[in-house]
Symmetry: C2
Subunit: 336 residues, 2 copies
Amino acid sequence: MRKLVNDPFAVVDEMLDGIVAAHGSEIVRTPRGRGLVLAKRDPARRVGVIVGGGSGHEPAFFGALGPGLADGAAVGNVFASPSATPAVEVARALAPPDGVLFLFGNYEGDIMNFGMAAELLADEGIASETVLVTDDVVSALDHPSERRGVAGDVIVFKAAGARADEGAGLAAVAAAAQHANDRTRTVGVGLGPCTVPAAGRPTFDLPAGEMDVGMGVHGEAGIRRGPLAGADVVADELLDIMLADRAPDAGESVLVLVNTLGATPLMEGYIVLRRIVERLASAGVPVHRSLVGEYVTSLEMIGLSVTLVHLDDELRRLMDAPARPLAGPGFGTEWR
Amino acid sequence: MRKLVNDPFAVVDEMLDGIVAAHGSEIVRTPRGRGLVLAKRDPARRVGVIVGGGSGHEPAFFGALGPGLADGAAVGNVFASPSATPAVEVARALAPPDGVLFLFGNYEGDIMNFGMAAELLADEGIASETVLVTDDVVSALDHPSERRGVAGDVIVFKAAGARADEGAGLAAVAAAAQHANDRTRTVGVGLGPCTVPAAGRPTFDLPAGEMDVGMGVHGEAGIRRGPLAGADVVADELLDIMLADRAPDAGESVLVLVNTLGATPLMEGYIVLRRIVERLASAGVPVHRSLVGEYVTSLEMIGLSVTLVHLDDELRRLMDAPARPLAGPGFGTEWR
């Protein structure tokens, strides 16, 4: 492994030590160590927005803590769901008047553990709602509600955070998150694997010069493998899959997010964005905002994903609201 | 190559198209295309802060454009200096009352081309000063002024931007940049190479399981090669080299910057930061601020660097001033 780690089984706890060392004035770690809570929260918020999932996707999910975004995060082992404990601890620490909203990608382990947390919290009188992120188009082409969550996570987090900042109650914040999810589509491409430290070997085989179109953020196989094509050809294929799944309505604008997976240079993200924006422009689809960078990575996986968010007036407002993530490339709204 | 590119010789221009597609409301591209200028500048600034260097280090250098930071950037080919043209075009576009300050790493090509730009601008009546970044300790252990510039770039840019925001004149802004550089030390470690698209082969050979201590951001050899050690052992070696070069003065605090090179996950950056902060704490050196992320990358090189900034009152003030980079992890000051 070409990795700077100590004990491969301690990477998450040591990473959390580092996160607290870097951001300790902004966040607090929960008693058992796997939950993070924003230290200064907006008192106007009635709902606590809690995100989470496995580690290895940094800056997701801790990076989404911050004003305009999430209030807390539950942190799992590498590519594994957090247990119920951090979600419960984070919710208790927040204790918001209207309850908490759990946001995470549609994976079995996360559903089980956040579900258990919700039950435990209900016993304590803390209400909760859950919205699953399901943006990965090819993971269930014909069954949108069964799709996995990938880079669209951060769009759903952003929508919920902005709505919570408006003082909305739990049902309304959950509805905003669900609405953002319903209008968000992602397709990825994998060019090379990563190695989970505790496993010590690559998560999948993919020879150099080949690509996996539609690959998920844990290396889940996509819809086809083939020779690696040029950036524009790949961008076109990803975009065409998304547009076939949902064409923009007349008068609609889109947000484009190019998420680089970990080892793919930012340079390539911008090259792909350029093509996506060109294609949308020639199709007459206005691009409201474009984001490029490492939002939801997969350790050192090679590849990227393209996300389209079909914006209506509500989503435009929520995407344009100011937000300052603890880590990560941000939403282009910190300039306001 | 596991790369999403079109023509390998067009990667920089296509990247710049993408940068303008993403950030076009904040920046303007100069006529010949290789210069970027902040669209809305602080009218109180008397000095234009211009940064630059080769591409392949994204988010450096374009990411350093922004309030509190740089006003313009000159962009070269991958790992190659920009020509004089973008520096001249950016300076003309800025036309600040007190002239421009050029900030770049200490590399021959950059010195030659920015020097040529300075001469051309002098003929047009635009004054300029230059401060070279020389933070890479092992690149010239016994000759500090001959060291190369690496991740410390962004510290020097930040200091100059903050001083320019205070309305300082050209000599004072240059002095602040020089002061920041004099107090900044970096040591890197390389675990694996990158591939320049137009070259099509790795920049150097380094077997998996080995490391190069002191490696530069273009793969320049460091001071020793050996078996890859655990993260704490590596962190200790990097820190010890820096502390041997300059021990903290009594009462001094430091800023720590862990810069991941491109393919090294953020997780490993935080693990290394954790150890550096522990070590400094046990040595009684207060850590004023810690930063982790991709600030100055080397395409998909594997490795990272650790930077120490020895803060005095002036540098603390300049580092704490608000800043909002166009891209990249930021300075932890956007929370103010």
